[in-house]
Amino acid sequence: MGNPTRGGGVEQSSYTTVFGSLDSFDKGGVELVNDDARHYAFSNVFEVASMSKPWEKVAVAKNFEYVLEAVRAEGTSPWRTAAHDEFAVCMDGQVSVELVKLESSPLPADAEGSVALDGDPVGAKMGRVTLSRGHQVLLPAGAAYRFVAAAPSVLMMQTIAGPDTQYRWAEICQTV
């Protein structure tokens, strides 16, 4: 039996929400009528992460200087920092984040994009966050951060393109 609704219809008694994962994702696509598939840059973050090496920052979306990056999280990442806030969403798995307040940033205040740090960061420990699927974390401007994932996981980064952003559009996107 379903549930009667305010709108006058009857709907199912329960629903299953479908999320994707590294192990299980089902891609849609662009059905062209009169256009070029490349204009849509259609990809899938789980597929991109499945083809990536750990901690590669692969752009899956770009809007002028801004990017969204798909990251395969596996093991321990290098330490990184940016002069602006960044954000990471855990799309699959479990990832912990360690944060350090840098005594001295290697970046000018107006620098865009994140950079890797040489060695361990110098500064006060800010704390640690453990993310599961669907969790979003602030990576504050001027902080050093690194990720740790015991099992392959997927992050989506909201950031600005930097020297380590990888562009593989022809490999990851639908082209016809």
Binding site: E11, T17, V18, G28, G29, Y40, D85, L99
Partner: protein
């Protein structure tokens, strides 16, 4: 010509069905039990009142959004971020060829106040324009109270990120946001946050999926995090996007859960260009010269990613930047 009169022009008395009529420039608006009637100097148009109110609700809540908000294939608005065009037939090839298209430019406060007044007067207590059809009663009938608490919901706009002290806060039963019936299976656990003393305001995380599972509106992107002009605007979707959004910049969609079907048309003529099916994890750009309308069979989570820079529309309109996001 820009019309600067900010006074709301409504009829002195309601009609037989109990609703006021409104005038904005040369446009006239009236409703009866089922329909909205729009007239302008070169033509007239009829829309179902529930479709009209759902579209009007988004246009008001988004303060005219980015680019073009087509209520349907004839009527809509164009945001110039300070002024707004209200048009009929402007993005309809047949109207243009017949030279029956018409538009006026108004100062934003004037059209905002008029649209808010129409929305308030024409929305009965039985109808919530933000809700899915299963979640609300009907828009039809004679005047029957109002639903001002629903049509004046505050739009979330985090300055930094939801959950940061002093910014927008997470949703809970206590704050009046219950888990939506389609998302009862979404994990509600929050991230484990272990902040050292003094860094509680910087070491912050929240459960985005749980936050979205508690959204009480559909098709209403609202900001949860901002990296300069890069805005994460997730939203929950069910049934049909009540407007056809015409882009003035590239925007991106990331399907976070379930699936949405999109019709993509030429922005200016309405000619079909593609159909897009997005499933969980899919990423797709919407080029700057298209318009799109989505169909979500089950309530789904969609991340709308916007570049809020005021420079972008002119760069694209002038041809200095392409209408699509990347070259490969």
């Amino acid at each position: 010509m820009t019309v600067t009169d900010t006074q709301v022009n409504q009829s002195e008395t309601p009609n037989a069905e109990g609703y006021f009529s409104f005038t904005l420039g040369e446009f006239q608006f009236r409703r009866d039990e089922y329909f909205v009637y729009i007239t302008w100097p070169t033509g007239h148009h009829v829309m179902s009142v529930d479709a009209f109110l759902r579209a009007l609700q988004r246009d008001v809540a988004w303060d005219f959004f980015y680019g073009i908000v087509n209520f349907d294939g004839v009527f809509g608005t164009v945001n110039h971020y300070g002024t707004v065009d209200i048009f009929a037939g402007r993005y309809n090839d047949s109207y243009r060829k017949a030279e029956l298209d018409y538009s006026e430019n108004h100062e934003t406060p004037a059209i905002r106040e008029t649209f808010k007044s129409i929305l308030a007067d024409w929305t009965n207590e039985t109808f919530d324009p933000f809700a899915s059809p299963h979640e609300t009663g009907a828009a039809w009938g004679i005047k029957n109270g109002d639903n001002n608490s629903a049509v004046t919901r505050r739009r979330v706009a985090a300055q930094r990120m939801v959950g940061v002290p002093g910014d927008e806060q997470i949703r809970s039963d206590e704050s009046g946001f219950r888990i939506n019936r389609h998302f009862l299976d979404v994990d509600q656990s929050e991230p484990v946050v272990e902040a050292e003393p003094g860094f509680e305001g910087e070491v912050v995380a929240f459960n985005l999926f749980a936050y979205l599972s508690r959204s009480d509106v559909t098709w209403n992107p609202s900001v949860v995090s901002a990296c300069k002009d890069s805005l994460f605007c997730p939203t929950t979707e069910e049934y049909i996007l009540p407007i056809i959004h015409g882009n003035d910049r590239v925007e991106w969609f990331v399907q976070l859960s379930d699936q949405i079907h999109w019709d993509v048309e030429d922005r200016d003529t309405g000619a079909i260009r593609s159909r897009v099916l997005m499933k969980a994890g899919d990423v797709c750009a919407m080029p700057a010269d298209i318009r799109h309308q989505g169909y979500s069979p089950k309530r789904s989570m969609l991340l709308v990613w916007e570049n809020n820079s005021s420079k972008v529309p002119e760069l694209i309109a002038s041809g200095q930047a392409p209408t699509y996001p990347v070259e490969f």
